[in-house]
Symmetry: C3
Subunit: 277 residues, 3 copies
Amino acid sequence: MAIITLTTDFGEKDYFAGAVKGAIYSELPEVKIVDISHSISPFNIPEAAYIIRNAYSSFPKGTIHIIGIDSELNPENKHIAVKLDDHYFICANNGIMSMICQEIAPEKIVEINIHDKIESSFPVLDVFVKVACHVARGGTLEVIGKVINHIKPIINIIPQVNYDNTQIIGNVIYIDNYGNVVSNIKQKFFTEVQKGRGYTIHARNHKFNIIYKKYSDIVNFEIPEERRQDEGRGLVVFNASRYLEIAIFKSNGNTVGSASTLMGLKPMDTVTVNFID
Amino acid sequence: MAIITLTTDFGEKDYFAGAVKGAIYSELPEVKIVDISHSISPFNIPEAAYIIRNAYSSFPKGTIHIIGIDSELNPENKHIAVKLDDHYFICANNGIMSMICQEIAPEKIVEINIHDKIESSFPVLDVFVKVACHVARGGTLEVIGKVINHIKPIINIIPQVNYDNTQIIGNVIYIDNYGNVVSNIKQKFFTEVQKGRGYTIHARNHKFNIIYKKYSDIVNFEIPEERRQDEGRGLVVFNASRYLEIAIFKSNGNTVGSASTLMGLKPMDTVTVNFID
Amino acid sequence: MAIITLTTDFGEKDYFAGAVKGAIYSELPEVKIVDISHSISPFNIPEAAYIIRNAYSSFPKGTIHIIGIDSELNPENKHIAVKLDDHYFICANNGIMSMICQEIAPEKIVEINIHDKIESSFPVLDVFVKVACHVARGGTLEVIGKVINHIKPIINIIPQVNYDNTQIIGNVIYIDNYGNVVSNIKQKFFTEVQKGRGYTIHARNHKFNIIYKKYSDIVNFEIPEERRQDEGRGLVVFNASRYLEIAIFKSNGNTVGSASTLMGLKPMDTVTVNFID
């Protein structure tokens, strides 16, 4: 039996996520439901796009992903179901899918049209659950929607390169639980533009010359532990999802501080890479 | 096999919820456990009542709901198990069940009396789990308690109507994850008192003349998107649970603000509806 | 089929926990995954040790516990798998297991050595999941690591007794969801040192002479409810895990305040017990 995942901005407190799970089990007692996150910032589409893009591919092929962000149906916000990379995604056509679709071409996109039978002020519960259970039972997307070819884009997910290829201009797209600052500059893209050159990375007034492979590479283990002062130092890594990330070693927003708080970096801020011949 | 849900004020960090799930699986390896919420404000009974009332009915008949709020056994706080609407609820007799029981008559209420065998400082783990597993195995309530006829009420769950039916005086009962402000005025009750008259809704110094069907009804889609200024505007809707709610369109407490923060509204504040002939 | 639990500092928002669950279900569709906590404070090893120690034993024998705190592999932070009390624990050798191992001798400890095949910046996903699934399938620890005899200790988990046995000097090890302050003084240890003597408990400038059996024992139920003033009063109990805890009756950090906020107590602060002949 299939897995249905949930990614929403419902928060940890409200009854919404609980009600959605109850509705799914009422239709399909044997399905597995997995929470990816209910703590997306309210209406924050780039954040949701980053999280679902990095979580989905760990799940088995055939998994169905419900994304409940800004999902109220209106003339400019239709509901879609997407088949891509042998996974299914059910969400509003508000830009959430554009980060994944930019990297992997979708096999099929339908605009959901079962709404004439469902008048709802809670579309995740009343519409997305029905679509997810339909797919979990082996139903095709054409039965619940009409095929479309384009989805709504979101801005700032692709970094820019200047005219003579000496600079990448990227943006902060996500601040993680450790306060680390994730840019939209992927390792593959960086390497293609770099062509072996040296580089400096700039974010506000901070400057870095090394990209580490992992966080603790900043530590010199030949110095005795009691004389080291690495906790709280800034560094750059390609993170577990292969995005360029500005981090603080063993950061903690409540104690030593985090990259976001210490360096004053927030979503949409510019991160620049200058290449040196 | 039955579903057991958990609604508590244990928070997301502590070991309490994990231990309870471990204990349930130790007794019943095949049961499904669903978290409704562990983020109820500590000891906040009206909040728990609102959440369980709106979540439970999405689950299949026969589901068993453990509610772990203010559950320490003492002479004034007994444990009860309630069968209602073909669902089972296990909680302290502290008012949590009164919101549901006011709308649907319980089939059976028992005061749990297996405590002489269990001395506990963690009754959800030691008592509620045992009762839930007993019910999940098909056991009857009479085996674990003695039948009673009344439960403890909570105040302020019912709005008042003035002597000449020109005014409803309600209260804020819940602030949701989006900072939206939920009153205790249900759509059905509103319509019965309204009898087709016009109305104004007052909360502190804020005034509204329209109740929308959904949040985005505030948007005039004929105005081009770049010229609209709807985000952050206040509005009133009947929410997904059919309660009158004061909301901010696309609210976010950390950016544009929320109804609660912008209008200074908090639980127990008065929400008034004045009808106009 | 076995249960795999997760205890991490990933937080509620990030994709990390979701990705880990997806990876487990991809390997073992029939396993049960239970979240113990993802809200450990970042890199807070004593907190993680307290939570896993109190949660694990409610689970059935054979359960596999993944602990994802400070788990990046480096020369001083190896990965281990421990069999203890018929449970399995997979974590970094950073002190997390020392609280449990101090009370119950481990049956077997191995240092995981499958890393030459796995280069990873997300070891919980890439290494711990593989080890957990190996164990869930009935595999032995020797296959994935080499047996070792010692693990790294953490400090301040054991309270001290002065030279003439008149004083226990303990520390705050945890602040729970209610703001209650948990010390490292266990009831059994207290009773052994006490030998029936009277006592006073000191924390900062606060002093207590009674240890209650449960929180509501502070209430005198003979006084009518409307005249009582117990909410917000400080008290000491042995908590559900049998640790000496300084609490506030019906505390709530956002309203009446909590023991931590009202008394200014935080992790590592001293809690002293003076015995009186």
